[in-house]
Each structure stands twice: as C-alpha cells, then as structure tokens.
C-alpha cells in the first residue's frame, strides 16, 4: 500500500503540474506588457477597452436570456415527464443529449440555411431576430446540462405528493410550477444556470457565424491582433468559469436531501 500511495502522489503531482503550469505561464505573460517589470497594464488596457465592455455586456445579457429560455422549456417538461408521462422519459433524455452529438457548428449552419431572410421564419432578416436565434442556439447547447440538473433536482422531491397537496389547497398549474415546484428545485436550476452562463460567456462558433458582437468573437479578434491582452483575457475568462463553478459547489451544499437518496 505504501508504494501505492507514492504512485498516487506522483500521478497527482504530474497532473497538477500539467494544469497549473499553463495558468502560471498565462498570468506571467499577461503581466509582461511593460518592458522589464511586471505590471497589470494588460488588464487595464483590456478592462478599459469599450469593445470589451460592450461585447461582455452583450454576452451577459445573452446568457441571462438563455437561462430564462432554458428554464421555461426545461422545468415544465421535466416536471410533466415525472408527473404524467414517464413513458416519454427515454425520448426526452435522448433529445436533450443530441447537442452533445451534433457539433454546434452544424446546428448553427442549419439555422443559417433554415431561418434566412427568404424563409418562412426569417430570424436572420433583422438584428433582433438574429439575437433571438443566438439565444435559442445557446439554449440548445445548454439543454443537456440544464435538463440533467433540473431532473436531478426533481428526483430529490416527491413531485406527485407536492402537486396533489397544492391542488387540494386550490392551486392552479401556474401556481404549482412557480410557487411549489420551482422553489424546491431552485438550487438545481441555479447550478444549471451557472453552467449555462459559463458556456455562453466564451462561446465563439455560433456568435461568430451569426455575426453577433459577443465576447467570444471579440476574444478571438484580440487574440489575432494583440500580444499581451489575450493572456489577461484568458485569466479573466478562467476567473469567470471558476466563479460559476464555485457557486455551483456552494449551492449544491444547500440542495435538499430526500429520504430515498440520502447522499
């Protein structure tokens, strides 16, 4: 067992080195902008760039709409599947996994061909329409994560009893979903939301092919034209991802534990 522990440390140390060296290198590179000394100039330049603020704001807004759309589609569906249509579960699970199978670039290519200006549903004819299509595309990308998070959350509560109790007290369907089910799965929904946020913020393919002024294409553009700013942006992006994941970790500690799934 002793040698086992030794090798475990070796593997862990090698892994840690592979993962931390690029991060250290990026931090170091991002501070090399001023010749000879380390400085935060690159960060100042990046954060002060109006295009950074505009594209980042755009992506945050897109992420918020994506989360709202995702919740509106996923929560009622997952709830209804659990309550009334369990026979549809395999089909719905299969569909929610499709975005992992079909590459994002293929999905957006389909959108471009199907929803162009001459089509019956001309999303791409206007800027607002294209924004909407981008949010829809993001919602499909987030679907696997959102559905799994919500479904796991629903598993921990007794959907049927809660629904019947609410109905006996005279609640309608809107009330049941918004005031009984949603609060109970809120933590699961929020962890799905943060994951969605992390995915949307840096997404490049869809935003770039739909010509939207999002953060991902801005990152790419800076990367092609500048030396030190990209490293600073990578650190900022990593910090955002880290923030989202930490929030998920913290939230999961508050998630309800049910009798049939004690761990």
């Amino acid at each position: 067992m002793k040698s086992g522990r030794f090798w475990a440390w070796v593997v862990f140390a090698l892994g840690a080195a592979y993962f931390f060296i690029p991060l250290i290198a990026t931090v170091e590179f991002s501070m090399r902008m001023r010749r000879g000394v380390y400085s935060l100039d690159a960060y100042k330049v990046v954060l002060g760039d109006p295009r950074f603020q505009a594209t980042f704001g755009y992506s945050v807004l897109a992420a918020v709409f994506t989360i709202i759309l995702g919740v509106l589609i996923v929560v009622p569906t997952a709830y209804w599947i659990r309550l009334r249509l369990p026979q549809l579960r395999p089909i719905v699970e299969f569909i929610t996994l499709l975005p992992l199978v079909i590459p994002a670039i293929v999905i957006v290519f389909g959108y471009i061909r199907m929803y162009g200006s001459n089509s019956p549903l001309p999303f791409l004819a206007s800027g607002r329409g294209t924004d909407a299509l981008l949010v829809i595309g993001y919602a499909t990308l987030a679907l696997p994560y959102m559905y799994r998070a919500v479904d796991t959350g629903l598993r921990t509560i007794d959907v049927r009893t809660l629904t019947e109790a609410a109905q006996i007290l005279g609640a309608g369907w809107g009330t049941i979903i918004t005031r009984v089910i949603l609060p109970n799965v809120l933590i699961a929904v929020l962890s799905g939301a943060f994951l969605t946020f992390a995915i949307v913020i840096g997404e490049f393919t869809m935003a770039s092919l739909l010509n939207r002024p999002a953060f991902g294409p801005y990152l790419q553009n800076i990367g092609a034209n500048r030396a030190y700013e990209p490293a600073a942006l990578a650190i900022i992006a990593f910090a955002i991802t880290w923030g989202c994941m930490s929030l998920i970790q913290i939230l999961s500690r508050f998630a309800p534990r049910s009798a049939n799934r004690p761990n």
């Binding site: 440390w9 199978v101 590459p103 670039i105 061909r113 109905q167 992390a198 840096g202 992006a237």
Partner: protein, 329 residues
C-alpha cells in the same frame, strides 16, 4: 388550465367511465411537453435534417449522391492512391497529398483520437489516484472542483493560455531554452501543429474524464478487493480479473464521448492556428463564412459527415454505457 387538474383525473378515474375520461384527457396530457418538443424539432432536429437532406440534393433540389462523392473527390483520391502505390514500389517517400476535405477529416479524427486516448488514460490515472491512492481527502474534493472548472475552460481562452505557455515566447519554451538550452521549436515542435493542438485539447479532456470516471471508480466495491484477497489473489490478479473488467465499459464509453467532444470543437483550434491547420470544423467554418468550395451542398455533405462520425461514436457510447450500468448499480 383547470381541466388538466390531477385531482380531477383521480376522481374521474374512480367515478366516470374510463374510456370517456381518456378521450377527454389525451390531448391535454401532451400540452405539458409540447413546448419542449416544438423547440427541439424547430431548433435541433429540423435544422439538422435540413442539412442531411441537403447533402443528398443538388442546387435544383434533385436527389443525388454527388455531394457525398465530392467529399471523397475521386480524381484526387485516385491520384493519392496512385502516388502511395508508386512510392511503395520505388521505396520512396512520395509526399502524397490526400484530397483537402478527406485530409481535414483525417487530421480531425487523429487529433480527436489522440487527445481522447491521452486524456482518458491520464484522467483514469488521476481518478484512481484520488479515489484509491490514500491521498488526503481535501485533494480529492479539490481535484474534482478543479476538474469541473477546467473541463469548461475550452475555447478561445484556452488557446491563449497555451500560446503563453508553449508559443514561441511562452514561459515553458523560454525556460527550456534558457535553463536547459533546449529549443523545442528548433526540434520541430510547434503549437500550431498536430501535437500542439492535441496537447491543448488534452487540457479539457483530462478533467472531463476525471469528472465522468470518478463515480465509476467509486463504484468499485471495497468488498470485491477483500473477497479477492481472501481467495488469495495478488494485486495484479485483482486488477486484471476484477477492476479492469468492471471499469472498461465505462472507460471506453467515456473515450468515445471525449472523441466527440474534441471532434466538434473549433474555437480553440481557430484561435490557436487561425485557418492554418486544416481540421474539419475549420473547413466547414470557412465554407459557411465564405462559401470557399463554391457549392453549399458540399458544405451540407461535410456537416453530414461530421454528424455521421460523432453519431457513430455515440452509438458506441450508449452501447458501452448500458453494459457498464449492469455493474454500477
């Protein structure tokens, strides 16, 4: 709204004739999932089908295999085969060139395969180390948290991080050069090459593997090890006859998932190499942006080919997963 009520249904089941209740409820049952299915059909299934059908049509809409044949580019492919044959006959390195699209598929498959295999073995080793290695508990939770972050740290920022590390002026390149006198670029390494890209992809493949495989390692029951030891098995026998048979279906399944994950990725490669490395998502990207192949239907065929490859990978994934689930109840 109210006629969907569950208590109505419960009462109806007891009082009213069932056939009548069924006939009345059937359409409303489906209303609950209708938004999801409409969304999925409109924005996931139809756009994909549109491309798949388009791959088998020409500009006038008639059915044809020309686009699929176009991917294989028969004249250039036969040149390639002829060149391979000639250089084989003459024992020479003929420097044969595959048709562009096929070459792009091939390099994509190679990068995806290499990064998923390296990521899978390294991730498996790390997962075993943190679950079974007797490391302190905080290392396990820290590793899992970090893996959650790193598996989502793909795309453009990852490319920047690797340029800062292994680019011509990157930290590791410079340190290797100044401290050890080793100029990796002089020795043929390039971040914009097959191995550069593979090494970069591994950064999100390993953590993904750790996240997915750790529950499977956890599923290895302690009792099995004890039972094996009681029966006199050596550690090697325990691994060969217990651990590997139990782990390998979920291991292979995850490799395939990692493969699909790398195969569809474009942002990292595009930010890293621009369009200099011809992987298939970048070829498709260029085709969508600029119609570089002057035939949109060839673009459909490229997209169709990508779906076929990731789809096949996932058919295997589902198959392996159902096999592994028998053990990990």
């Amino acid at each position: 709204m109210t006629d969907l009520s569950l208590s109505d249904h419960a009462i109806a089941g007891k009082t009213a004739p069932p056939s009548e209740a069924r006939a009345f409820r059937l359409p409303t049952q489906w209303l609950g999932v209708a938004p999801f299915f409409i969304f999925a059909i409109m924005f996931l299934i139809l756009p994909t089908l549109y491309l798949v059908l388009g791959a088998f049509q020409n500009a006038t809409g008639t059915f044809t295999f020309d686009n699929i044949v176009g991917i294989f580019d028969p004249p250039n492919l036969s040149n390639y085969i002829q060149c391979q044959y000639d250089s084989w006959i003459s024992w020479a390195d003929g420097n044969c060139r595959l048709p562009t699209i096929l070459a792009a598929y091939w390099i994509s498959i190679k990068i995806s395969l290499a990064s998923s295999l390296i990521g899978a073995f390294a991730g498996l080793a790390i997962a075993i180390a943190i679950v079974r290695g007797g490391l302190p508990n905080w290392i396990r939770s820290a590793t899992l948290t970090f893996s959650g972050v790193a598996s989502n740290f793909a795309g453009v920022p990852l490319a920047f991080a690797f340029l800062a590390t292994l680019g011509r002026l990157g930290l590791v390149t410079v340190i290797l050069n100044t401290v050890f006198g080793l100029n990796i670029y002089a020795h043929g390494f390039n971040i914009l090459s097959f191995w550069g890209l593979t090494l970069t992809y591994v950064y999100f493949q390993i953590p993904l593997m750790v996240v997915i495989i750790t529950p499977a390692i956890d599923g290895l029951k302690k009792e099995w090890g004890e039972a094996a030891a009681t029966l006199g098995a050596t550690t090697a026998q325990y691994w060969r006859m217990v651990v590997i048979p139990v782990i390998w279906p979920s291991f292979l399944g995850t490799v395939i998932l990692l493969f699909a994950n790398a195969f569809g990725a474009i942002a990292t490669a595009y930010a890293l190499t621009g369009s200099s490395l011809n992987i298939i998502p970048i070829v498709l990207y260029a085709q969508i942006r600029g119609d570089v192949l002057h035939n949109p239907h060839l673009g459909y065929a490229i997209a169709f080919g990508m779906i076929v490859i990731t789809g096949l990978a996932n058919v295997f994934y589902i198959w392996f997963r159902t096999r592994s689930e028998r053990w990990l109840k």
